[in-house]
Symmetry: C2
Subunit: 762 residues, 2 copies
């Protein structure tokens, strides 16, 4: 059951807006709280579009490990916030949105009054530390604005952010002992040793600078900050919680704990002290940089020179309005909330990763300047190559090209001479399989969105796909598949490489490099090498060419797959469904296989042994909560039963998404789940990025207008659409019948009108 | 007994040079091995004058602490090398010269053949690790050149250095398994947690870059490197020795241990593998930077573009010849060895701290550019303000002014708004007491060596001496002394502040700022406030004004002193000996006190309880091994028995210095012990830097010619000087009798001739 917390606003929105007038304010439909309960791993705090700062409350900061053992509870806190929690520990400045592993949570600030506490306390004993109780009744979460009452202290906290600056506004009660705590120990997925070093410098009584250097998911990462207060503090202090402090010379010459301006260590907490009057607002601006404290100061002074919190909030929310206006839909209020929150979640990552002057710390640990482009990070490419970057090619082509430029900069800085796999803060964490940067690049090349050097980009794709020492790639190149002896995910990875190779072939073809096209088209067929015709499944294959005897199509455990089983992965040839259907024994058997996927009951052991999958994200054996299935419901389009695509995608929309805190059936994965929603709600989906085709499903909106960067508008109408009328009887494009099951990218970018005629019967 | 290892060369030198012809090569007199046995804490390896690289063998790398307990054996290894050791662990690139606490030892390289060992082994079981036996018979240590045979491997290792680049030449035997190990774990005064982070990037098969970040004596320090090989390695690998490695994503995608180019962690060792032919030379150039790996590369390519080891050695040794030629003496070979080695040890620190383009990492953790000056670090000011910087004002005035510019840059970057106390690599370690930067600055101002903004420098002195939260300074300002309750070294620190304040007064007077002169002249008398006339000693004084009852003039333990007792410190008023003599009860009683100092026997407990003092550095109760006594032997010059200065200083020269590995009676302390030798051997000494006077002693050379930067020559002649003829009968300056016991700075800088007429009887 969904939490009905949006009901009052729902009614209000209905009464105010009713239909969808052209100038309706779309901002109220964004509900950052969606996905904060259970599995969504989103955060409710403040962020500008694609902002480098994600300023958000953390409801717990439990460690990833304790005493060297994994702490399974930490998974809930990938984004720092869990809706069911009763306390807020503080507000930190960096958060991933929707990831299934995590990092960040830098620079937690917490306002308190009364006796100074420098320990965060625990959820069970909240009064033991500086955390505070809070209630959703006093909580507001909007795009780029968050507000909550910290009940233990009677402090109202408000947050907003520019791209690089978090802006806090704390309304205090009268107190002789008001504090703002800066916790440099705190972080998300913290380990005992995750803090490599922290440094703080109190420049004067309103300015503090420093950095935090961590080794977590990002192996070697430093975030610099500059923090200003709207009024001078009366005093300050610090405590070190280091396991041990090395001998640093004659420190006894100073009392480091009180008003000493030059602090460093591994585990440091600070407090800044005030006397406040009733209702006094103490504001804090907190800027980040990857380059230096001077970079952070430059960002601070450029983006947020003044102290008008409301003006900064307005500016940030207007930026969001501009982004939201790129798609104006007619739909129910609930669907608008789902849709615009999806847009919001799609447009908060990748994140800007450079100072206002273009400076950024590169993968080579050197400072670089992004010349002529905005440099981005947070590339969850195994997820986002599927629908998020294709969505950007329609709605954010300029940003998508800059993201590719950022990937090429990464490539140039990479010691391995590879494009990013999963990169964050100029660090490669190699998460998941494949080299899906090439899919993003090929998709842009094929679709003609190439204000970058496309041939150089293709060279980077070729180099990346030639790195023999990368996961099984040498064997893959030599044998056409990865032998099961070499890699626990040999089948999965072979399939992903094959698809990526097809992407390279498509880009090469578009650029007229036919030798590359020929070579990679051949590699693209490697999926066939792990297909066992005797069972009709993708199956682990040994070095000697035989298929592994021990095989369970439902198991994901040591079976050559990850986040999915053979049943799922036997459908993973997004680049050539007709060939897959032929392999599978033709249309009828393929449809039976697809049907069974959505209707079967999985045994319990599947959940026990499968990483990152829970019942939330599953329909039958269809795993929507993980991405390798995202194209699957659209595969009926290649069969004689495309109406099943229409039926299934509408079912998935309803089952896996909803305008409530628990409204995401799985990790949003940096916007990929949301991008799937957006495409599917609009009625089409990019089954194989790297092609220019979007395959038709069943639109869930009544109408939509896409405002393109080229100035054109692409309009979608779904006549007679309803929860019952999910079947598409016919489609016209610009008044002419569309006698195929896909739309091309050019057709969208040319502007025009797509009309679906819907019906309750297929 | 001194080790007679120089005897063969002694004879050779004598036979070649006999007397001292004008163009005699002075380089062979430099014996970097002096001070490497027992207490000197010097290193025998290669360094350019004031070089940023000190490339030297480490004979052990034992940790400062083990399991949280101090390891007293570590003290021997302040410079990494102990003459009595039988094995060499490797060659690292940074070393302090003569300090009594330590740090550095970055980037240990070791060539080996045979089975790969990545563990250094122990002295007791050297074959358990990569270390090798060596013998002094195959060892050569010259200024900027070191050579040794690594006996376990039959490898000859040669080292030289430019200012910023260490150059290794390893002559291998034929081997299929030749290795060069790069140990990033190793370091001097290492703790378990001292390595904060290390990073290595194998750019190609001859170039490796990276950094080491430590928190030791320098709290927050990063050294970047670029390392090139003269031929490609065949392969490479690494091992991590981290306590634990945080989760860094899907690292299983690569085998990190073999040929993986992108490494990071806390404890990392690497090996580079070769096949070598008999006699094959593999060379390594290793450049350092405080800014970035690009900075290191720039230094490498600028300073050492080629692979001619001998040419680089020649260039480095010619640079030393130029420095040595600044003082040409006539003396015995042994005395020349002591003298020129003292010059050498005086001219290897402070060390250059900037890239060839002027870039350096500042105290504020930001990158700066030194505009119009050379930036220096390694300021052991409690030691070096006494004689080293005054020596520089004569022999290295341009460098000394740049050192002051460097101190002013430090001041501008300092969060505490203070000049350096003991600074290294843009870190302040606050070592020892006082704020003796002001003595260095005042000495330069008073002596007119001010190509910097002298008024700004004086402002920095005033600000530094006004920082009330610094060790007892608030109380000192309020009370005129530091109450014993507040500080364990209350007397010592009060005395040092008083002297420093006098320095500020002298600078202010010179600059015509008479209000400052008046205020600080008053503060300069604060030494009187800790003088207890009832006992005739400096004595800890309580807040209420009374002297502490519990008092032992010989004890240093909790008695308000450090590295000396009340007996010593009661002589510490260098800026006003006449007043001190008056306090002490006049000439006769003062002479008695001085005499007793040199002749008394100290009880054993003195050695047990006193930090950094051993019997090596002591004559009676006179502690030459520690600096607060360095002016003491000259104090007879203010009495009616100046011949005792002459007698004592000659005795100290003979007892505390000698041309052998154990030839330093105490830590050289970044050149202060050596500077004392140089001044004293020349016949005068700066008793109170900040005055323009050098007080006369007894020259130990027959003659000396000082080549000044202004083009003039100052000549000293000591007629009939010998070990017996230590007494000065009369002195003439430019032929005129010098009817005072001091010389002025201007008299030296004007050029001219000082003649001492020596005798065996006073």
């Amino acid at each position: 059951m969904r939490n009905p917390c949006f009901l009052p606003l729902l009614i209000l929105s209905l009464s105010v807006s009713g239909q969808t007038p052209a100038q309706e304010d779309l901002l109220p439909y964004v509900k950052p709280i969606i996905g904060t309960q259970r599995m969504g791993h989103t955060y409710p705090g403040a962020s500008a579009p694609f902002g480098a700062v994600q300023l958000s409350p953390d409801t717990d900061t439990i460690p990833y490990e304790q005493n060297g053992k994994y702490n399974p509870d930490v998974y809930k806190y990938c984004a720092g916030y869990q809706y069911d929690d009763k306390t807020i520990v503080g507000f930190s400045h960096t958060h991933f949105s929707g990831t299934g592993h995590s990092d960040l949570g830098d620079f937690l600030l917490m306002p308190t009054v009364g006796e100074l506490k420098l320990n965060p306390g625990t959820a069970a004993q909240s009064h033991s530390g500086f955390r505070s109780a809070f209630s959703h009744a006093t909580e507001t979460a909007e795009a780029d604005y968050y507000k909550v009452k910290l009940e233990d202290y009677n402090i109202w906290a408000e947050l907003t952010a520019t791209t690089r600056v978090g802006f806090h506004q704390y309304t205090f009660p009268a107190s002789d002992q008001a504090h703002i705590i800066l916790d440099l120990v705190s972080g998300i997925y913290n380990y005992d040793d995750k803090n490599v070093w922290t440094y703080v410098r109190v420049v004067n009584d309103t300015l503090v600078t420093g950095y935090r250097q961590t080794s977590g998911w990002a192996r070697t990462r430093t975030v610099y900050f500059a923090m200003t207060f709207s009024r001078p503090f009366n005093g300050y202090g610090s405590r070190k919680y280091d396991r041990r402090t090395a001998y640093h010379g004659f420190w006894g010459h100073f009392d480091e704990r009180h008003n000493f301006p030059d602090l460093a260590g591994r585990q440091l907490r600070m407090h800044f002290d005030f006397k406040t009057q009733e209702g006094e607002k103490v504001k804090v601006k907190f800027a980040l940089s990857s380059v230096s404290t001077d970079g952070a100061l430059l960002n601070l002074r450029t983006e947020a020179p003044g102290w008008d919190f409301d003006a900064v909030r307005r500016q940030g929310q207007d930026a969001w309005r501009k982004e939201l206006n790129k798609v104006r839909i007619d739909a129910s209020v609930a669907d608008k909330q789902s849709f615009y929150t999806s847009i919001y979640h799609a447009f908060i990552n990748p994140t800007v990763y450079m100072d206002v002057d273009g400076g950024y710390r590169g993968l080579d640990q050197l400072n670089h300047t992004a010349n002529g482009f905005v440099n981005y990070t947070t590339f969850s490419l195994w997820d986002t190559h599927r629908a998020l970057h294709p969505l950007f090619n329609i709605l954010q082509p300029a940003r998508n090209a800059d993201m590719i430029r950022s990937m090429l900069a990464h490539y140039e800085q990479s010691a391995e001479h590879m494009l990013p796999i999963w990169s964050n803060s100029a660090n490669e964490n190699w998460c998941m399989s494949g080299y899906h940067s090439v899919a993003v690049i090929a998709d842009a090349i094929v679709k003609g969105n190439t204000p970058f050097d496309a041939n150089k980009a293709l060279d980077a794709c070729i180099a990346t796909s030639s790195r023999r020492s990368f996961e099984g790639l040498g064997s893959y190149i030599d044998n056409g598949y990865i032998p099961a002896e070499e890699d626990g995910t040999s089948v999965f990875t072979t399939l992903e490489y094959a698809y990526d190779d097809w992407c390279i072939a498509q880009a090469a073809k578009k650029l007229g490099r036919m030798d590359v096209y020929a070579a990679y088209s051949k590699r693209a067929e490697n999926y066939k090498n792990v297909w066992d015709p005797s069972v009709g499944y993708m199956r682990p294959r040994l070095k000697d060419g035989s298929f592994r005897k021990d095989f369970d199509v439902l198991s994901t455990n040591g079976q050559g797959f990850i986040e999915g089983n053979a049943w799922n992965y036997s459908l993973y040839v997004p680049h050539d469904p007709p060939a897959l259907i032929a392999l599978s024994g033709g249309n009828k058997r393929f449809v039976q296989h697809l049907d069974s996927l959505f209707t079967m009951d999985l045994p319990d052991k599947f959940f026990a042994e499968t990483e990152d999958i829970t019942r939330d994200g599953i329909i039958g054996n269809y795993v929507h909560g993980n991405e390798p299935s995202h194209h699957v419901a659209y595969l009926y389009d290649w069969t004689d039963q495309p109406w099943k695509t229409q039926e299934r995608v509408r079912m998935i929309l309803r089952k896996q998404y909803g305008p409530a805190p628990d409204g995401l059936g799985g990790n949003d994965d940096c916007g990929q789940m949301s991008a799937w929603y957006i495409f599917t709600a609009l009625g089409f989906y990019p089954v194989a990025p790297g092609s220019d085709q979007y395959w038709l499903g069943s639109p869930a909106v009544n109408s939509a207008a896409l405002q393109l960067e080229n100035g054109k508008t692409f309009t979608i109408e779904a006549r007679d659409q309803s929860d019952k009328n999910v079947y598409v009887k016919r489609v016209t494009l610009n008044g002419q019948p569309l006698n195929r099951r896909y739309l091309t990218h050019q057709e969208i970018m040319d502007g025009g009108k797509l009309v679906f005629y819907m019906s309750g019967r297929h």
